[in-house]
Assembly symmetry: C2
Homo-oligomer: 236 residues x 2
DNA sequence: TTGCGTTAGTGAGTATAACTCACTAAATTA
DNA sequence: TAATTTAGTGAGTTATACTCACTAACGCAA
């Protein structure tokens, strides 16, 4: 029996309650991080008790994974559409890099949860969330493979290595921003990463030399041809 | 007072006890991971009780950081010496990539602790361990800067971005191995990463065309010279 | 050898938070 | 209106990091 002044018990449908819990959990996880977030606090924000949450989610961790899955659903959608509008392996690669940076910029707290609390734990491998992440990063692998098939990219670097360099590199490089320190110029960084991956950092003096040599030869040939035609003219 | 059959209390000096605890903690952390490792178990392996460990270390987490600092001390040392024996920006870059891969291959469990439990937590930033890690990754930044100064590398990519691409990429790419799945061909991967960072993945049809044009011009010049000398001979 | 101060080591106890479960009461149906 | 279902409760259990008042081993001086 409720004491005097105790709140009234509100019964919601399963679907609505699950949605509410996911929303409150997302808030609390983002504000305090996974460890510091208490299941009791998530419950308190909805005016319910801890036990109710365990009616719908097996563990606190299960709740975290479901929150992130929900987020992935939100994000996906327009990936195919965006890619379809861009032609050429290099521009398509840059689009993927840029979109990933934009997601990082717009959802740093959720990225933080994903990187710090989820990826790397035993239960991530094989989870639904893992499957969604694979599908996400697979776009880049596909773009690389298309580039190789079209003769634009070399074929001797495994696409999964490039995927790991890009996503691992972005994760490291944006870590300070994700932790709330500093800004993030996603256009500049997307350009730089695309440039490194596509052209590398080596300056190639040879290319310039070959070009200059070709010009030198061209001038010589031109001169010779003029000479020959001058010599040849009198014989006509 | 010890009960009948209870073990005898052994008193060690502070230094020896600290070393023993660090050793046992490293074992247990590696075997079970940070969360699953119990301070009581670490104590049990040394025949002491939990309280004794808290005499020498503030928290379980402090103990973890000290274990990893100890490991860093072991590793450093010969970095300068190895680098000193290699000339040229590209070979030096490859050495750093290769050495990092070798460390990952040789100490996957400690790497796992470093990546999963330490880096990314609040207390890491500004810690002694953080300082050691910075010093470690700084070698790569320095090699890049030397390469730029020597005219071997382009100067428009921030060295820290390259550092993050390399170390973040390696971390992602070796994650399966670190988790005990599959092998790690460090020579092949070092070659591939160095190749991507230095030359990129774009095939440059222009370079081939310039080369072919130069060859064509060379043949023409040769033919012309033969013609000229044939024409010139009779005049002698 | 004996007495004494220092400190390594003890182990019972505390605090916290995830998780459980027997029960209550609100909604729905017969 | 009675019966049934199930959303919600909240006190209790468990596990473990961490504390603290106390004990006993060692070194040193007389």
């Amino acid at each position: 029996m409720n004491r005097a002044g105790a709140r009234k018990i509100v019964r919601l449908g399963r679907e609505q309650r699950v949605a509410d819990i996911l929303g409150a959990a997302r808030e609390v996880f983002c504000e305090k991080g996974y460890e510091a977030a208490g299941v009791a606090e998530i419950a308190a924000r909805l005016g319910i008790v801890e036990g109710t949450i365990y009616k719908y989610f097996d563990t606190k961790r299960d709740l975290l994974l479901k929150v992130l899955e929900h987020w992935y659903e939100e994000m996906f959608g327009d990936y195919e559409r965006d890619l379809a509008g861009v032609a050429g392996a290099r521009p398509r690669l840059r689009l993927l890099v840029w979109r990933h940076l934009r997601t990082t910029r717009d959802y740093p707290l959720l990225c933080r949860l994903m990187f710090r609390e989820v990826r790397g734990e035993q239960d991530y491998r094989g989870s639904d969330l893992h499957a969604k992440n694979r599908r996400y990063t697979q776009y880049l692998v596909q773009v690389i493979e298309e580039g190789v098939a079209a003769g634009e990219f070399r074929g001797d670097i495994p696409p999964v290595l490039l995927r790991d360099l890009v996503y691992g590199g972005i994760e490291h490089h944006t870590w300070n921003y994700i932790c709330g320190r500093g800004g993030l110029d996603i256009d500049r960084i997307a350009d730089q990463i695309t440039a490194v991956v596509c052209e590398g950092i080596t300056l190639q003096p040879m290319a310039g030399q070959i070009g200059r040599e070709a010009q030198r030869l061209s001038r010589i040939v031109d001169r010779m041809e003029r000479n020959l035609s001058r010599q040849a003219r009198p014989t006509k």
